[in-house]
């Protein structure tokens, strides 16, 4: 079949080749594509850190402290003479890993609790009260308390970020399950003898995935930002493991004297969070059936 002209394309959408569909998608959703590309770039920097860095990020060289960006030190040096560029590149690892792990863990746990809570009425009350209790504690304060009171480590930071974010995912999943459980197809499945685990996994779960993915991206963006905030307040990842947050925390007194120390990690952080959010927004617009028709 000859390639349909662009004017007819919107009628014969399904007749387009995958390549044409992709280009059309890119034209219609430039921000999401941009976000995706940026995120990919960050990911590559993070993975490639052992190869891309110039100096060992923990190497102290007090003679060279606080040098502005220049040859040899593309992002300058910090107050201990460490190379800022290498630290920022390595910082991508921690920030992205923390964001990703938190998003995954909250999604899995939130999904499990949400499915059960939405479907099994007897457990719903108890579970939701518990979720309310956790949600009643402000995010950052809970995280600060947890990390400051235990030990500073990446694992503890992840736990501290998972706890306040999980109830949100639970609420989302639960609300979807609540609307779905009255649907005929669930009744039909039950009439055919499907038992609880099968109902949850085979029938309800797939319908929650779209929303879960979108929520996951927001959780990831939040996690990256809150980790930076935690480090800023002195309760984040241990300082000898560079993360954008604690690089900026260490540099906070130097904002007038060596602003480059704050500039670069801040830019990287903002770009990453921005791109995650753009991807999330794009996904949400795509997956919402009513909007999808307009956005395709």
């Amino acid at each position: 079949m000859p390639e349909p002209s662009p004017e007819l394309a919107f009628i014969h959408y399904d007749a387009l080749t995958p390549g044409q569909k992709a280009r059309r998608f890119a034209r219609r959703n430039p921000t999401m594509i941009a976000g995706g590309l940026l995120l990919l770039l960050m990911g590559m920097l993070a993975i490639g850190a052992p190869v891309l860095h110039t100096v060992d990020p923990v190497d102290m060289n007090p003679i060279e402290r606080l040098k502005p960006p220049g040859a040899g030190h593309w992002f300058g040096t910090d107050m201990y003479g460490r190379d800022s560029y290498s630290r920022v590149i390595y910082g991508a690892r921690i920030s992205l890993v923390v964001g990703l792990v938190v998003a995954l863990v909250t999604s899995v746990i939130g999904l499990a609790i949400g499915l059960v809570s939405g479907f099994v009425r007897r457990l719903d009350n108890v579970l939701m009260r518990a979720m309310d209790g956790i949600m009643a504690l402000p995010d950052l304060l809970l995280a600060i308390s947890f990390v400051a009171l235990t030990k500073a480590s990446v694992r503890n930071v992840i736990i501290a970020l998972v706890i306040p974010q999980t109830p949100r995912v639970v609420r989302l999943v639960r609300s979807i399950v609540l609307t779905l459980r009255e649907q005929p197809f669930i009744e039909a499945a039950q009439a055919m003898g499907a038992r609880l685990p099968r109902l949850l996994l085979r029938h309800l779960l797939p319908n929650t995935l779209a929303a879960l993915i979108v929520q996951g991206t927001y959780v990831m963006a939040s996690a990256v930002l809150i980790e930076a905030g935690l480090s800023f307040l002195g309760a984040g990842t241990p300082p000898e493991i560079p993360s954008w947050g604690n690089i900026m925390a260490e540099a906070r007194s130097f904002v007038r004297v060596a602003f480059w120390l704050l500039l670069f990690p801040g830019l990287f952080l903002a770009t990453t969070v921005l791109s995650i959010n753009l991807v999330g927004d794009g996904l949400r617009d795509l997956l919402d059936p009513r909007l999808a028709r307009r956005m395709r």
Partner: protein, 313 residues
């Protein structure tokens, strides 16, 4: 309606209970010894032990909990381990700057974000839509302290327009009060604004595509009338919900903003208390925050009846 309020208030109790127990255990099980911190640098182990006994921290945990519950029942939040002042007095002293900041940030964000979100939804898919969204998302992505430092540098130091730090009560003059709050409000407000703009856009967009709006057009109604008379009211519910949900986000941001701008508010009180292991303050403040959050949610839920007459309690 009244019975609904009563039911909701009762439902808050078990939630508060969980919060109290959780925080109480968390601070005590964790490492960090307030007695050693209080004793200071040159102190001896002997002194530290004496201080610990003086604060009642040597008693077993369940005994300490019973004592705490008893004082809570009397409405007594206990005394700060460090300064010995009543926690309630400390909270009252510091509540004003935090509330002022929270309210002004709320106003700033709502007044900016809601119109922007409506605009973006109205012109969905266009350049304006994309621009507004990127701007909003960008605001969400910038770390608050970064933005704060930037604002201080530009507006306080370079342009000499606004003060660097501190808080002046509105009772000492409205102009100084406002001047000291401008920069912190903008720094904190950007985050809130981003969230609100996106939700507003999504909500208005969804409403604009619904059947009854198309019917209104079909009946010949003009776009502005459609927007204001029909769409906004129906879109309001999720937006108002977000204002409530974002409140928790606000509290977190308040902590950092108070640090950067040296505002003597509750956020910094809590951070300092956590870093100094001042158990009483940590417990007291988290309890208050949880209470306020629950009340805010109740108010938000009640406000739904204003916007959507179908919602009844």
């Amino acid at each position: 309606m009244l019975s609904y309020i009563l039911r909701r208030t009762l439902a808050m109790l078990p939630v508060m209970g969980i919060v109290v127990v959780f925080v109480f255990l968390l601070v005590r099980i964790a490492p960090g010894d307030p007695a050693a911190i209080i004793a200071g640098d040159y102190a001896t182990p002997d002194t530290i032990q004496k201080i610990r006994v003086g604060l009642g921290l040597d008693k077993p945990i369940h005994v300490q909990f019973r004592i705490y519950l008893a004082s809570l029942a009397r409405g007594d939040l206990g005394r700060s381990l460090h300064s010995g002042l009543p926690v309630s007095q400390l909270i009252l002293q510091r509540v004003e700057p935090t509330v002022a900041l929270a309210l002004s940030t709320l106003a700033f964000a709502v007044l900016l974000a809601v119109p922007l979100g409506i605009l973006a939804a109205w012109k969905a898919g266009s350049l304006i839509d994309r621009a507004v969204m990127v701007f909003a998302v960008g605001g969400f992505s910038i770390p608050i302290f970064w933005l704060g430092f930037l604002l201080i540098y530009v507006f306080s130091i370079r342009l000499d327009l606004l003060p660097v730090q501190g808080y002046v009560s509105f009772r000492e003059g409205l102009i100084p009060f406002a001047r000291h709050l401008v920069l912190p409000t903008v720094a904190l407000g950007m985050v809130y604004m981003a969230l609100l703009a996106r939700i507003t856009r999504a909500s208005v967009l969804e409403v604009l595509q619904s059947d009854y709006i198309r019917t209104a057009y079909a009946k010949g109604a003009r776009p502005p009338a459609v927007l204001f008379a029909h769409a906004l009211k129906n879109a309001a519910v999720p937006v108002v919900t977000t204002i409530g949900v974002g409140f928790a986000l606000l509290i977190g941001g308040v902590v950092i903003t108070e640090s950067v701008f040296a505002l003597p508010g509750l956020g910094r009180l809590t951070v300092d208390a956590v870093l100094q292991r001042d158990y009483s303050i940590i417990q007291g403040v988290t309890l208050i925050f949880a209470l306020v959050y629950a009340v805010v949610n109740l108010v938000v839920d009640l406000s739904y009846t204003l916007f959507d007459p179908r919602i009844r309690y």
